[in-house]
Symmetry: C6
Subunit: 79 residues, 6 copies
């Protein structure tokens, strides 16, 4: 497993808007998968598996929701 | 994966009522699925799979509960 | 999917007691399932599936626990 | 599904000690299962299923951990 | 199910260090499993099942992470 | 199960940056797996299993997200 990839873009949890915070949550979730499976070819092969599996799509939603909770709090909910 | 879709309607976590907050939680959960599987035809094909599977219905409830926790806090629980 | 059903009874997270808060958590969890699967006949058919499956009973407990965390906080733990 | 059973013993999240708080978390988790499956005979039949299944034992641990998080906070961590 | 076992060693969530807090999280997670399956022989039999199953190892990590969140907060993150 | 391994590097949740906090989350998640399965040979054998399984990659993401929530809060979100 390579850990030399960047796990948090711009090294910050702060974003200007909720939308950008949501995109960051998605990116952070993907980067953990990229770190655990650094081979792009394997990741490409797995894509149709999860993108056409209702159960995995829901599980991805769960991860993003969890990451977003942290980011939203870091930004004081953009209030 | 297309990321050009809007992930948070109105770019805000603030809503007038708990009911609207709950609807936002549902929408945010769905938009992650839409982003991960942008093909509407595939999503339509998956619908009966999860809507008639008790296990997946429960998992959807888990995602919505997690999104709602964030939205409720952002709105100071509408107190 | 119909979204015209009410997702939060009385449009409020506030309850008089922990017991009522717990009941609200159960109702909120069920209403998400109802919204995702609006056909009462299908839901009735699924009931024995999850009510006799240890794994699903535990998963339901997980959803209720998550909803309750939000409701309990909204009520400042009824202190 | 019967909802006439008590979901929170003593209708309170407050306990004297962490140990009692932990026991409350276990009870609250079990009461949701009892409410969802009110037939004691069915629950008895399911017991060996989850008690001898590593995966379900872990899932039960997850539910208890989530319930306990709420109870611990309600008690200000018994500090 | 016997509930006479101790669920929280020393009846406290407070520890001197993060490392001790982490060990407490592991112990608390294990004690719930022990309470649910009090037969040591069965637990011994299950050990190779989860210790050689990637999916269960990850699930154990999830439970410990959840317990640790509560313990870390109780200790104000040892700051 | 050996518990003599270090579960939290440097015995601290505090890091200089979000990126380092994220790396700590990954390490803490791995160390629980290492503690539960101390045999390096078995862990090496399991690696291709989870690294080529979309479902497990997502589950790993869930654990890291949960650990990171705690670390981010401990560091006041590096604000």
């Amino acid at each position: 497993m390579s850990e030399s990839i960047t796990l948090i873009p711009n090294n910050s949890l702060l974003t200007n808007t909720p939308e950008e915070g949501r995109q960051l949550a998605v990116k952070m979730a993907r980067l953990i998968i990229k770190m655990t499976q650094p081979d792009a070819e394997v990741r490409d092969r797995l894509r149709p598996t999860y993108a056409e599996d209702a159960s995995m799509l829901i599980a991805i939603g769960q991860v993003v929701a969890t990451e977003f909770a942290t980011i939203a709090k870091a930004n004081d909910y953009w209030k």
